[in-house]
């Protein structure tokens, strides 16, 4: 189900942009119209560096960006000049980069020549390829994300496979190996894409021989779709939870009417087998870090009984992190789920079979991504595939498999809170520890991920690519502190980061962000003695910090006031709600949090 992405664009424009069969000229006109109207929440700039002519790829990239609410600028490189392109793109402010080497252009008529090359000659080609693209990716390490597109054949395959197939597989394996050394590089499987679109629909040899333009619009459109998905809509999309309806979504039939004995869920009978498969898909998402929730109009006890003991249920209580099974409207229930998990509504994906419920949620909560489960089982499996793509494109969510357990712990902790007389008494009972670790390379992926997705408690909202964190850690004039919180219920993992730069006699807090899961316990105050002791040892006499407002970080607006820093920037004319602070380290005393034990990692 499509959400209204641009309130100002006409319904026609939206319909064309999201219609996969819209003809090229209409797509061109619709993209121009939508961009002229504006209203997209964010923008990005992508550069295309290719060994073939891929002019229309830019159009389709803009199309898919627009349907995700992103205004995308496209810069095109020179033909087969990745090193030159990377240098130029950097000057032009490009933040995302497509690198598309082209097999047949490795040398003239390479596909035809390949069968004649000896093993030694192939070895030589492989090492040339590795060397060239390693250098390109090295030079491109400052880009936010790089999409390295694999090699594929243009010529028709030979039945049973041929030597060229083996060579392509080997060269692709070499490229992937090189790419693995660069944390900002994502792999795009072009051979799989050509096969998925179908070779005849994907390639257009009319313009290949004359203009070195091998691709038909169908392939370029799918290529753009995959890049958009893998980029998570240029970093604007980070879905965390899948909220599931029950009747005709998790099982066939209506539990309240058909009863536990009458619902359709047997793996051995149709249509129960469709719902059984759906549950296995959802459980697999859970294992890959997606939080599963239920939102259903049913008697809670009936649904609990199924989760506890129905023999064909795949999903069990332990798979579900939050449940709203009641007769309230679904928008209220979704708000409650977001509140309980302490995540934004835009982190929720909602799946329901009822057009009425889907419309209601779309209307009331436009931030929630909504899918309707169609009656047709093939259509249902296609919807599930689209949901998987949303959560998994660009790699499984790291650190995620333990997430469900952590959110359950938080819920258990909430329940326990009610038994204590005061908040401090409760906190003291938790046995909280905070482990602070400085410049640990093993934590780079998680630090970068947290910088990308933490919105609410994020003082400056700097989004760091992995390479940027790596560079900060290597810089003697900077420190990257990560903090891990644990309590008697369990470990919450890496849930906060502070980035400090040492400038003359000042320790400048460039960034401070924490997962909201661990807020409200004093952790955000407990970390400062360690950080400032280190800064003082570095020769710093002052601490400087700033708050920069976004749509989502209002809750952190007065954090540095509460921490006890002094506003310093009012006189300098702070703009748009930004605040800057300073204090002498020697005189600075953050609010005490005696219930927390701070450890050095």
């Amino acid at each position: 189900m499509n959400k209204p992405v641009f309130p100002k664009a006409s319904a026609d424009t939206l319909a064309i942009l999201s219609d996969p069969s819209a003809p090229l000229a209409q797509v061109m006109a619709a993209v121009e119209a939508a961009e002229a109207l504006g209203g997209q929440a964010t923008s990005a700039h992508i550069g295309i560096s290719a060994g073939a002519t891929v002019d229309l790829l830019g159009l389709y990239l803009r199309r898919h960006a627009l349907t995700a609410g992103v205004s995308l600028k496209v810069s095109k490189g020179n033909f087969d000049d990745p090193l030159g392109d990377v240098a130029r793109f950097e000057d032009w402010g490009v933040d995302h980069l497509i690198l598309a080497p082209f097999l047949d252009a490795l040398e003239p008529a390479f596909e035809a020549r390949a069968a004649m090359l000896s093993d030694d000659e192939i070895d030589l080609r492989e090492s040339e390829l590795r060397g060239r693209w390693r250098l390109v990716m090295h030079c491109a390490s400052k880009f936010r994300a790089v999409f390295l597109c694999g090699l594929h054949r243009v010529g028709a395959p030979v039945a049973g496979g041929d030597r060229l197939d083996a060579i392509v597989a080997r060269l692709n394996a070499a490229l992937r190996e090189e790419a693995a050394g660069f944390p900002n590089v994502r792999w795009i499987d072009m051979a799989g894409m050509v096969a998925g679109v179908g070779r005849r629909a994907a390639l257009d040899l009319r313009f290949y021989l004359r203009n070195a333009a091998p691709y038909a619009p169908a392939l370029l459109d799918e290529w753009a779709r995959q890049v958009t998905a893998v980029s998570r809509a240029y970093g604007t999309r980070f879905h965390k939870a899948l909220v599931l309806d029950c009747d005709n979504t998790l099982w066939g039939g209506i539990l309240g009417e058909d009863l536990a004995s009458g619902i359709k869920l047997s793996p051995h009978d149709y249509p129960g087998s469709v719902f059984y498969r759906a549950q296995v898909e959802f459980q697999a998402l859970r294992r890959q870090g997606v939080l599963l929730c239920l939102c259903s109009k049913n008697e809670a006890a009936d649904v609990d009984a199924l989760l506890d003991s129905h023999p064909d249920m795949v999903l069990r209580q332990a798979d579900i992190v939050a449940k709203q099974v009641n007769w309230n409207d679904k928008a209220s229930n979704l708000r409650q789920i977001a509140h309980d998990l302490n995540i934004g509504l835009d982190s929720l994906v909602f799946l329901d079979d009822s057009a009425f419920e889907c419309e209601a949620v779309c209307g009331q909560l436009p931030e929630v991504t909504v899918f309707q489960a169609p009656e047709n089982p093939i259509g249902y499996l296609a919807v599930i595939a689209a949901i998987k793509d949303l959560f998994l494109a660009g790699g499984a969510m790291t650190d995620g498999a333990e997430k469900t357990e952590q959110y359950r712990q938080r819920a258990a902790a909430l329940a326990e809170r009610q038994a204590f007389a005061t908040q401090d008494e409760y906190l003291a009972s938790l046995g909280l520890t905070v482990t602070l670790t400085k410049n640990d390379a093993a934590r780079i992926p998680r630090i970068s991920e947290l910088s990308q997705k933490s919105n609410q408690f994020n003082l400056t909202t700097v989004r760091y690519a992995r390479g940027e964190i790596e560079a900060l850690m290597a810089d003697p004039q900077a420190a990257v502190w990560s903090l891990e919180v644990a309590d008697k219920f369990g470990a919450a993992g890496l849930t906060g980061v502070a980035v400090v730069r040492y400038a003359d006699d000042a320790a400048v807090i460039e960034a401070l962000f924490m997962s909201c899961r661990v807020l409200g316990r004093g952790v955000e105050f407990a970390i400062w003695p360690t950080i400032l002791t280190e800064a003082a040892a570095h020769g710093c006499a002052r601490i400087e910090a700033a708050y920069r407002p976004t749509d989502k970080n209002g809750q952190a607006a007065d954090f540095y006031d509460r921490l006890g820093l002094t506003r310093s920037g009012e006189a300098n004319g702070e703009l748009d709600g930004a605040r800057s602070y300073a204090a002498d380290i020697a005189a600075f005393a953050p609010p005490p949090s005696p219930w927390i034990e701070v450890l050095n990692g």
């Binding site: 003809p23 090229l24 000229a25 061109m28 009319r206 313009f207 203009n211 038909a216």
Partner: protein
């Protein structure tokens, strides 16, 4: 017969010129933006809009409004 107003609309959109610039005498000589890249896009766009396939031998040659009309009419009649 090909719908000439649709044809002009497609050409104007792909070549990035106003519809009024696409007259009966329009060609790659009169429209400077009509380069080889745009020509490729134009052929693909014409095929999708009119539901025809333009064969290789014609694809590179139809660089004027008049020639495009002839080839599209041939294809639509085929």
């Amino acid at each position: 017969m090909v719908d000439e107003s649709a044809l002009k609309q497609v050409m104007a959109t792909v070549l990035g010129v106003p519809v009024s610039a696409v007259g009966p005498d329009a060609s790659s000589d009169t429209i400077p933006a009509w380069d080889s890249l745009r020509h490729m896009n134009l052929v693909l766009a014409l095929e999708q809009t009119f539901g025809v396939e333009i064969p290789d031998e014609d694809a590179a040659e139809i660089t004027s409004y008049a020639l495009i009309k002839v080839v599209l009419n041939e294809r639509l009649a085929a």
